[in-house]
Amino acid sequence: MTAVSKSFVELNNVRLRYSEGDELALETTNMKIDKGEFIAVVGPSGCGKSSLLKLVSGLMPPSEGNVIVDNKEVSGPLKIVGMAFQNPTLLPWRTTLDNVLLPMEIVKPHRNRLRKHRAEYEERARKLLASVGLQGHEDKYPWELSGGMQQRASLCRSLIHEPDLLMLDEPFGALDAFTREELWDILQNLWMVRPFTVILVTHDLREAAYLADTIYVMSKRPGKILVARENTLPRPRDQETTFTQPFTDLVHELRSHIRDVRES
């Protein structure tokens, strides 16, 4: 292993306790994620998957070890990360368009340019919304949208400032199966057009197999990475892919890892 690495995100011997004297929430974890790589983390609930996201984005400091993003040690919240959760958390007093533009009001240098170049930014937001199938809904309020549409808008909000790092915490968990699979395609398309590094936390093994380049299986608490499985299924993956033998084999393999975790 060389001292200089080309990984975009690195976790070195990271351990996490929520507070001093607590039992470990995350057992010694090492991870390397390349720039533009799409990884998924699967595991039983309560295994610290979401904590992993908070560690990488700097919202929570590790108790031991260090986290390196873009060759810099993370010491506070990173300022460029896109995030989306199971709960779309759109602001109900803003239209869909204004919700998507929210990061532009915060991220530098956009926040200083937004007022003068409003039209340009709106155009950009409209384009992004159109690419996820939300054209014509820009001026609606979030509560006028269905759950799937809200989640699409939330995805747009997490990507509008073109972050290098996207954190997704079970973003499609609350959606019905058809909408969920539609959104897999949308996310895959966005990622293929402009590759950004994605960390997707999910408990849906098919979702992980459909989207990720590498799938990490975590143990139950204290969380620990048991398996890092590469997924070389060709892209773009589509509905047909999910019926092929390699895909189902992969899902079966992941399932058996999870079974071992639960029984251990």
Binding site: K54, S57, G58, L59, P77, L78, K79, I80, V81, G82, M83, A84, F85, N87, T89, L91, P92, W93, L102, P103, E105, I106, V107, K108, Y141, W143, R157, S158, H161, M167, D169
Partner: protein, 256 residues
């Protein structure tokens, strides 16, 4: 549909008229003497006889109440913002606020009179003291109940505390704020009238006190009715403002 709408519009008037009729009947049937409980009709007639005096006193009470209320809004918003945005300030201020709110404000009026003399100033201050608490609590609650995920989204974009407060905290606290205004304005009337009753020579509170010392119970009740009407009017005004400015928060109640 149209009939139903009319009925719901008429409902408050019907219930008010019903109460007056019931009151009138009870007094007449049980032959209650007017120095114990006057009939509403008598109160209204006497109120009309004294309408010039009542008008003068009512305007004064309204002015006092609104002045105290305005101070309460400014003070309540500032303190609520502080308490709601910092855990440490919340912990420090909370017991003091609760303790202060538990003190009956009527007990403070003599103190205020010692400091400011009899008249309008203690009434304004009492109105302020009694009405700021719900504003503080509601503004603080609105700010403190921000979803943790949303906070994470904003922080990972590099948002400062101030950004979060301005972009999300305040807009989100607006429905709480307006709800508290409705409560606060009615409390402000309580405060100003209490103070006028104890230590003033002007205002509806003073009018009622002087009427009762002359055993003019119908006039006392006329004063009570005037206060109630002013309270309802102010409450409705803030109700309308609330619904106009925070439509998004009332989206579920459109057909009620």
């Amino acid at each position: 549909m149209k009939k139903k709408l009319n009925l719901s519009k008429a409902a408050p008037w019907l219930s008010a008229i019903g109460l007056f009729v019931l009151w009138e009947l009870i007094v007449r049937i049980f032959n209650i003497p007017p120095y114990v409980l006057p009939t509403p009709s008598e109160s209204i007639i006497v109120g009309w006889q004294f309408h010039e005096a009542i008008w003068m006193h009512a305007v004064h009470t309204l002015y006092t109440t609104l002045a105290g209320f305005a101070i309460a809004v400014v003070f309540g918003v500032v303190l609520g913002a502080l308490v709601g945005s910092s855990r440490a300030i919340y912990d420090a201020a909370n017991p003091l606020l609760v303790g202060f709110n538990s003190v009956p404000k009527v007990a403070l009026v003599p103190v205020l009179v010692m400091w400011f003399g009899i008249g309008t100033v203690p009434a304004i201050i009492t109105a302020f003291l009694i009405s700021f608490f719900p504003i503080v609590v509601n503004v603080a609650t609105g700010l403190a109940t921000l979803e943790p995920e949303l906070r994470d989204v904003l922080r990972s974009l590099g948002a400062t505390r101030r950004d979060i407060l301005v972009k999300v905290g305040f807009p989100r606290a607006m429905p709480y704020f307006f709800a508290s205004l409705k409560v606060a304005i009615t409390l402000a009337f309580v405060g100003s009238v209490i103070s006028e009753t104890v230590a003033s020579n002007v205002g509806v509170g003073y009018l009622m006190l002087s009427a009762s010392s002359k055993f003019n119970m119908p006039l006392v009740f006329a004063g009570l009715l005037v206060i109630a009407v002013m309270g309802i009017a102010m409450y409705e005004i803030f109700n309308v403002i609330e619904r106009r400015s925070t439509k998004w928060a009332n989206r579920g109640n459109q057909n009620i």
